[in-house]
């Protein structure tokens, strides 16, 4: 049995567009925001993402878990970045220390020290903004893209019939397999399998994962026979495919696509001209005594 994403019809901005147009916009948005580390350029991306979220008609109640999970994850990584300067070294060469916190104790002669520098703060904020924009746009997709239209949308984007259909099936299978995994885990737990106590050496751990991974995989393959039969009986792949639902671009879709492509082109030009690098505000530098 298939489990579905929690899509429903909404009167919202995203769903007023053709799904193909929205996927193109999403791809351009993703690719463009990847090019930048400059907070001045990243902020508009955040604004677009927030606009999309608030105009999507997706309620807090529906998506609470997702937001909390992603929020926690992003915050964790940003704090990590801030504490360590991880990843930042590629973007700045000198650091201006604001203050240096030294732990009042020593561990084996090593005193934990936290250097708070202006570069690390700005870098952590930039990363937060960047990742948050990308992931909030990603979260919206399963809630706002009609599962009936996955296949025809990918086909309309130029993928061959078979690949488009494979993409559609992939998106449809993900929630199903997540459910199957949960069921398998519960079943194994009932038999005394303790996933929380995955101890032992590396080899023992990997071997202990087999009772989870193997049944889910083999069950998925065995269950696919019905789908294959159903597709074969409808002569899948014999001739050019027709789709039950047709998509038609309207004027607003063209506007969105043009906007998306220009966004990407502009981002590319800006980044090629060297405007995309990490930006440290002058006043902040002055404040840090740079």
């Amino acid at each position: 049995m298939l489990v579905t994403w929690r899509y429903r019809e909404r009167k919202s901005l995203i769903q007023s567009f053709d799904p193909r147009a929205w996927v193109i916009f999403y791809a351009c948005f993703l690719a463009s925001s990847l090019l930048f580390w400059d907070l001045r350029f990243l902020t508009p991306f955040l604004v677009i993402a927030l606009l999309a979220v608030f105009a999507s008609g997706v309620t807090w109640r529906e998506t609470r878990h997702v937001w909390l999970f992603i929020g926690g994850f992003i915050l964790f990584f940003s704090v990590l970045t801030f504490l360590t300067g991880r990843g930042g070294m590629e973007h700045y060469t000198e650091e201006h220390t604001i203050t240096s916190l030294r732990a009042p104790f020593e561990i084996l002669g090593w005193r934990p020290t936290l250097d708070i520098t202006i570069e690390r703060i700005v870098y952590a904020i930039s990363q937060l903004v960047r990742v948050f924009s990308v992931s909030s746009m990603t979260v919206l997709i399963p809630y706002t893209l009609n599962p009936e239209l996955y296949g025809v949308a990918f086909r309309g984007l130029g993928l061959p019939d078979k690949i488009a259909y494979a993409m559609e099936l992939t998106m449809r299978f993900i929630p199903t397999f997540a459910r199957d995994f949960q069921l398998t885990m519960d079943a194994q737990r009932a038999r005394g399998y303790e996933v929380e106590k995955l101890r032992g050496g590396l080899f023992a751990q990997v071997r202990k994962l087999a009772p989870l991974i193997v049944p889910v995989t083999i069950h998925a393959i065995a269950g696919s026979e019905d789908i294959i039969d159903a597709m074969d009986m409808r002569a899948f792949g014999v001739g050019p495919r027709t789709w039950l639902k047709q998509l038609h671009y309207r004027r607003r879709d063209y506007v969105l696509i043009v906007a998306a492509v220009s966004l990407f082109a502009a981002s590319l030009i800006f980044s090629l001209l060297g405007h995309a690098r990490l930006w440290i505000p002058d006043w902040a530098l002055a404040w840090a005594g740079g």
Binding site: L30, A31, L34, L35, F36, W37, I70, F73, L80, T84, R86, E90, P112, V131, V134, S135, T138, V139, I141, K162, I163, A166, M167, E168, L169, T170, R172, F173, I174, T176, F177, A178, F181, R199, G201, L202, Q205, V206, R207, L209, A210, I213, V214, V216, T217, I218, A220, I221, A222, S224, E225, I228, M231, D232, G237, L268, S271, L272, L273, A276
Partner: protein
Amino acid sequence: MDRRLLTIIIALVAVLVTFLLVSLIGGAINENLKLEEVGLLRFVFTGVGLVIVFIVYWLTRSSGAWDVGTREVVYMAIGAALYAVFSYLFNGTVFTVPSVSQVALRPAIAIPMFFGYTFGPTVGFFTGAVGNMFGDALTGFGLSPQWSVGNGLVGMIAGMAALFADKKKSMNVVLIISAVLAAIGTLLYILYPALANVMFFAPDEGIFGDAQITLFAGLSVVIGFVLVLVVRFAFGKNIDVAAAVMWSMLGNLIGIGFAALSDIWINGYSPAVAIVGEFLPAAGPNLIFAAILVPILVAAYAAMRQQTGR
């Protein structure tokens, strides 16, 4: 050749040539115009990877291994969805499994290898590439297309076993290539044992990809290689299991190698850091997972086929 396919390839090559020109002569026109942007290079390497895949396909297209029928379409989707779900579950977000000696548990990699070997290179490539893409999207990080292509290569090469009629002979070639690749990686580790393991994070211990690589992680490719050999000769009679682990090993070494080497330009790593700090701690443990999980999957699938008579 299909005209549309030709158009796509020409477009891809044209974009690559443009980037190459910009990086070669761009600096002379405007000194700001250098191809050093991290984001941009990701796309360049994604393109390079796709061109490699296409060349391999083009050279071996007469073989039936690349054909896509109804079955393959469904297996592609199953493989990609499973890979996405497993990588989401096991990348430390849902399951927190303690890492042993700087090696985190990423058993999901067995999925593209198994699907590639069992259902062919096209299914393998789709499983690895699309599965990794959706897996990243589930976690909220859709940021590394060149790693998606790398994962796709893992599955594709595992599936190239189907291109050879004589499985035993081809395995010997695979063995030699893998041994050379593993030896180069390990030699670099012996030369630079003090480099950091950039793949290892342990926030509670204050380690964020900056700890010196452990002996176990450094030698994990050798350990994995030996383990694969043990499986190969222990299952000498079951040629399917032996070939599956051998080809998975080669796929893993080349696919992860491609992604790690591209980080020399993308992240500005030195070649030694890319290989010792990134390639070894990623590819080595993958080999260990492959040597244990792929044979179990192959055997379980064979049992299922026998039982259901398919």
